[in-house]
Symmetry: C2
Subunit: 808 residues, 2 copies
């Protein structure tokens, strides 16, 4: 009998009811505000987009006397809008370009992409998206809306004190984004979970539901108030018959749609990536396009709008219809092709666009699908705020309609055998196709729910679920999702997913993959050890052990902290202090050296004061620390003086070299070679002093140590390690055995970050932050080092013979 | 610029595509099998339930000449079925009683309730549930189905090698349970996530969707093949008009339904708990009911069936309708009460039951709601397999219908003002009410999705979402969910939830709640220290530090391991060895003592061999370790001999007392007081030996140490600590500062486990298990100790004067 007793042990017990009443408010006010603002943004944007599209139609219609004028109007209008959108986005906030879901995925998984959540980006995204969609290009609204909602949440949170932190709110915001875009609160919540999360806290679910529902509600109420709708209904309401939505024997056709959509989805992702890579690889094109930033968007728009020109090729692909109109016609519950004779159907309203005197509806649909497929893949590469969901959704609907029409032509009396004629509903196939293709491209199953909410009918639930699952199974085995693909293209940092079904990973243990040769520092190490470790190791954090014998892990220290320690020990104040003391001792030598030294000292001091102010005083401003990656740049800028100083001082301590070069780099604006004898004698003295300093034992008192780094055991499986890493947002973990450090495991984040101001920070697992993070200051510090060119790496085994020759 | 580089560091990189093809199979075969089996079980069960209900109706109908006979038939039938169900469940597997969701929630949060996932329980649950539902009582199928699906998954997994472990499959199984019960795959997945998970791995989502969809599909296809349905449609299909489902101005009425349902849901949970507690508290009733286990179910059934007897009181509450029939009529799209005159509506089929010559439909509905409310709360306390979801769903639908009918009576021409008359649809209100009340009782929002899938219509999405959210907000602030309530009633172990909106918790740090007075053992401690710690501390694990000075945390050791260490040191083999050696030295003393000692030794040796076999040889079989909680039992069984030996040996070492009593307890079957002088002299010798043994330093070589216990920092917030604890299923964490142990935090699991064979084990966070767990063996071991009465606690400060007096 195991008795789990709750007595006499400290309690993490949360009195729910008592807190609930007191301070619930702010959170819910935040969510309501977020929902309200996003609903308004969505509605106003839709209104503006509709105006833009109407204007184009009006122009096109007004000029029907002259085809050339008509063509010019048809083409110029979107080119201008897209160019404006691209230009505006580029000038105001380049981060606003693209979908935004990949970035949100990255942000929610632990990387803070700073510039992505600013007011500028918000403005650029909203205006850019409105223009882009107003142009009539095959672009979507959903992805950008996830980004806009997140931006909105980030901006709102600045004005409100949120208890849960921004992370929880961003997760809710993603749901709001989808929710108010499609008036699909449930689908929005699920889609945002699937797309952005690895692990999902169920308590956030509620938040997302609340905000998304409120937002969708307001969004639809606005439509009612504006007299667009009589009451709150679905965006693309279908009217399929309820009593017999489909026959059991139609299921194979639905399965075929699912499987074909899976292949189609993978092809779309592949095509999209191929276009981006092609444009990048062709250096001649690339250079030209880079110079004229607006040329690529304009060219793509010109091509697409030319092909859709209704009196031209557009007549074979319902080119005159907007995306929304196409979708409405595709989801129509009437059959276009009865008994194979397309003419029998009375094409009313927009549906007439699908009718062509020479080509029947099947040809029109096939052309539409093929053309829109590559057009959408191409259009989503334009650097404007745009998503791929809606174009793919429409293509899927067209494909479904094609299959449905074929089925209707094949079984004109329906399949059902029991006397009653239940004719086939091609609109139902269109719904299935839309859900399947968009599910395949985004690798989600919640598109099924979005489809129910968009159409307001759930009667086809089982065909849709089956098709979506099949499409996902096929697409996931062939290609990454469109968002993961963009993440790789943009080289955003991320931890690769663990797919399902990987048996091998359960047999791999931490001990098989850990690095046993861990770099560590001991509690009683000297500054020289510190220096050596910093030179040979480029890791962000280093393990602190008690001693090399015991190897007991005490904590981990950030590189920046160690650099600070070292620079404090060897820094200017202490050096100047030493020189001053020395000068007092040896008066006559001072008269020679003092002039340049003090001058330079003053010069530097000014700099340093400025930097101290900018860095907020957190990090000691004297960080003349070797930084490996600055080497090439450094060589380039220093040229001769570097090789000279290297040759002169090679026999001396590494930090002396560092010092002397730091000295030269400051004086290399004019030829200062005459300084050499002075600086040499001075340097020799300082070198001695530094040697002594380096042999001192490190004082860790003022150093920020992470006192409890994450530890794993050798036998932990790879699967569980991955779970822990992604759950807690770890980037490294030490492998210990009874307190002893025996290995280290670091997360291999795929892709590298080269954007300025990007910093890696675990979101869920900030649980181990013991206060404010110093990474901010660290970044600033590194920038400073860069700018001042005082960085240096010491190539200890690099060309020794060469430099030796020169020094002798 | 921070450069995150992926070079030169070990890689947790999972080649998805290469693995995907190789071994995907088993998992999906498992899910398909699970879905198939559950669909069959669900369908067969539904078929049997329908047969049972038909049989009752047939009996009732056949006896309409005599009301008394009719009454007897009406009442006896359910009493017999429920009694059989209760008896069968009690005999075969008492764990099968009740919903099963609370248990699954507990299991999925880290406690393995062993008996809950066996074949016996499966059989008991399936047969018991069929009988219980066949009786026509207001009981539900959903909760038990979650349990049955989990049982099915657990049993299936025995025959298949699953890579992901049972945990992932149980999560999917819960979704399958709901999915095939209501043919609601999406709602099933969401409901199971909301009900059972705290944190949800999105990669499991896919699994649940797949299995639930497949299961729902087969479940509905079976109905088509059986000619119950023409094609695959929803279970409770509604036919509300699509073009204008509701007016914007009806929303306040929907909100009222939501808020009232919130209060109603809380009241239901409260009432349910009250009944259980009332029955328990009334000792006289309780004793009587305990003796006659079938009496309580029979009495409750008698009461409920008497009240629903159609010619009796049942005529005022549509008593003749089964649960399913009630629901179908309540969701009817026609209005019952036009212009307040109920008679205008033509009651066709089952709907006629709602019509009463004397009472109008409003009165019938009110009586139905009130009566069913307490009946359902009462019926769900019967110890048969049963859920509360469906009864609550029906009550909610009735309440919604009541509000809808009132609205229809109030606005006979509808609310819409623009000329067209859109009359109010009370059926829509019924749908809203059903979702809201079931959402309030279960604290979920996914009931909304279940409702869409059950009715096959999504047109009322916004009213339903609003009502469900409001109902949840009200209910969550008043009462726990029905499942949490049952968890508390049953005293299942669980970690309380962190609700939303608890600001205070973000300001509480680990240092504020941790226990600073940590019990630890040092690497160089003696067995005496070990002994003392084991006596004064009842924790399951103890910290191992390097030394009291350094306090460097090296790991943690389970109590059982320490007990094994101690018993090895002081155990019988070493003691006998010592005695043998001693005997060789002092020949003459041996002749007196040897006979009983060797006899007893042989006797014991036999026992020990047997135990060694049963324990699988993992744990050393000599564990004469003091176990605190066995004290009272021990006193009781030993009586005089205990107090005597205590008085005799109080001046000696604790373990000596232990030994002497262990000695007596074995010989206390007959009066062995004459042994006293011998055993005293022997004991004194052994005491000396033990004293020496206890002063030896502990050898930790063969001891299983957890080499990396979870560590927190002082500044970690309570919120994050809770997240980590529930995420990783921790039950304790050490608080360290630079490797030094400064405190400990233990999870206060509410509720205690008194069920046999229950053991606490983290599921998600088994990541830190370094091999097979020893807890199994540990439990066995403790049982053995218990049975042999060799356990003893030493009350060191307990009545010293008293025993001193006797010993002198």
């Amino acid at each position: 009998v195991v008795s789990v007793s709750a007595d006499h042990i400290p309690i993490i017990h949360f009195r729910i009811s008592s807190f609930l009443i007191s301070r619930v408010g702010e959170d819910w006010i935040f969510l309501i505000l977020l929902g309200l603002v996003m609903a308004l943004v969505s509605w106003v944007m839709d209104f503006c987009i509709a105006l833009c599209l109407q204007a184009q139609k009006w122009m096109y219609g007004g000029l029907d006397s002259n085809v050339v004028l008509q063509y010019l109007a048809w083409v110029t209008y979107p080119v201008v809008l897209i160019s404006f959108s691209a230009g505006f986005t580029h000038i105001v906030a380049p981060q606003a370009a693209g979908s935004g879901i990949p970035e949100m995925k990255t942000i929610l998984r632990g990387v803070v992409l700073k510039e992505y959540l600013t007011l500028k980006t918000f403005v650029a995204k909203v205006i850019g998206l409105t223009c882009a969609l107003g142009s009539g290009m095959p672009l979507g609204k959903e992805g950008p809306f996830v980004h806009i909602a997140s931006l909105c949440a980030a901006l709102l949170s600045k004005f409100m004190s949120l208890f849960g932190g921004i992370y929880e709110m961003l997760a809710a915001a993603c749901a709001v984004g989808v929710g108010c875009c499609f008036a699909a609160p449930i689908g929005g919540v699920l889609f945002s979970i699937e797309v952005t999360s690895t692990f999902f806290a169920v308590r956030n679910y509620w938040r997302g539901f609340f905000a998304a529902t409120f937002s969708a509600f307001i969004f639809r109420v606005l439509a009612v108030w504006n007299r667009d709708e009589e009451t709150i209904t679905a965006l693309f309401k279908t009217r399929f018959r309820l009593d017999f939505p489909f026959d059991l024997q139609e299921l194979p056709a639905f399965a075929v749609i699912g499987i074909a959509s899976g292949f189609g989805g993978a092809l779309f992702v592949y095509l999209n990536r191929l276009i981006v890579q092609f444009i990048r690889k062709q250096k001649a094109i690339n250079k030209f396009l880079m110079k004229k930033r607006l040329l690529y968007p304009a060219l793509v728009t010109l091509l697409i709008s030319t092909l859709t020109f209704p009196p031209g090729f557009g007549q074979f692909m319902a080119g005159q219809l907007t995306q929304k109109e196409s979708l409405v016609t595709l989801l129509d519950n009437r059959t276009w092709a009865k008994q194979g004779i397309a003419e029998e159907f009375e094409y009313i309203g927009h549906a007439a666009a699908w009718k062509h005197p020479q080509a029947n509806v099947f040809i029109t649909l096939v052309i539409f699908i093929v053309m829109k497929f590559w057009m959408s893949a191409l259009a989503t590469t334009i650097p404007v705020p745009c998503g791929a969901f809606m174009p793919v959704f429409v293509i899927g609907a067209a494909f479904g309609r094609l299959v449905g029409e074929s089925m209707a032509a094949w079984f004109p009396e329906g399949i059902h055998s029991d006397g009653v004629v239940y004719s086939i509903v091609p609109g139902g196939y269109a719904v299935v196709g839309a859900a399947a293709l968009s599910g395949a491209v985004t690798h989600t199953v919640s598109t099924a729910v979005i489809v129910f909410e968009l159409t307001g009918q759930i009667s086809h639930i089982l065909p849709i679920m089956i098709a979506v699952i099949l499409a996902n199974a096929v697409a996931q085995s062939l290609q990454p999702s469109i968002y993961d693909s963009i993440i790789r293209i943009k080289k955003l940092p991320y931890l690769p997913e663990l797919g399902w079904g990987h048996h091998e990973k359960y047999n791999i243990r931490v001990e098989d993959i850990m690095v046993r040769d861990v770099r560590y520092i001991t509690l009683n190490c000297t500054y020289r050890d510190l220096h050596d470790v910093l030179l040979t190791e480029r890791l962000k954090t280093l393990a602190l052990v008690e001693s090399s014998e015991s190897m007991i892990l005490l904590g981990s220290i950030e590189r920046a902290q160690l650099q600070a320690l070292l620079s404090q020990q060897l820094g200017r104040p202490r050096r100047l202090e030493y020189l001053r003391q020395r000068a007092q001792n040896e008066r006559k030598q001072v008269s020679i050296v003092s002039t340049p030294s003090s001058e330079e000292g003053n010069h530097k001091a000014n700099h340093e004061v400025r930097f101290q102010v900018s860095s907020g005083g957190e990090i000691p401003p004297y960080s003349h620390i070797p930084v490996l990656f600055s080497l090439p740049y450094f060589f380039h800028s220093l040229g001769l003086s570097l090789s000279l100083s290297l040759s002169l001082t090679h026999c001396l301590s590494p930090s002396f070299i560092f010092f002397s070069i730091s000295f030269f780099s400051h004086s290399c604006s004019s030829p200062h070679l005459f300084f050499l004898p002075f600086s040499l004698s001075l340097s020799l003295q300082i070198a001695e002093w530094e040697e002594l300093q380096l042999d001192e034992q490190v004082n860790f008192n003022n150093c920020k140590i992470d006192p409890a780094p994450f530890q794993l055991v050798e036998r932990t499986s790879l699967h569980k390690t991955h779970t822990i890493f992604s759950l807690l947002g770890l980037d490294h973990a030490y492998v210990t055995s009874i307190g002893r450090l025996i290995g280290v495991l670091r997360k291999a984040i795929e892709g590298s970050v080269t954007v300025k101001g990007v910093k890696v920070r675990p979101p869920l697992a900030s649980f181990r932050d013991s206060g404010t993070s110093s990474s901010d200051a660290e970044v600033t510090e590194l920038h400073k080092l860069w700018n001042r060119h005082t960085n240096l790496t010491l190539p200890q085994d690099h060309q020794p013979s060469d430099s030796d020759e020169k020094s002798q």
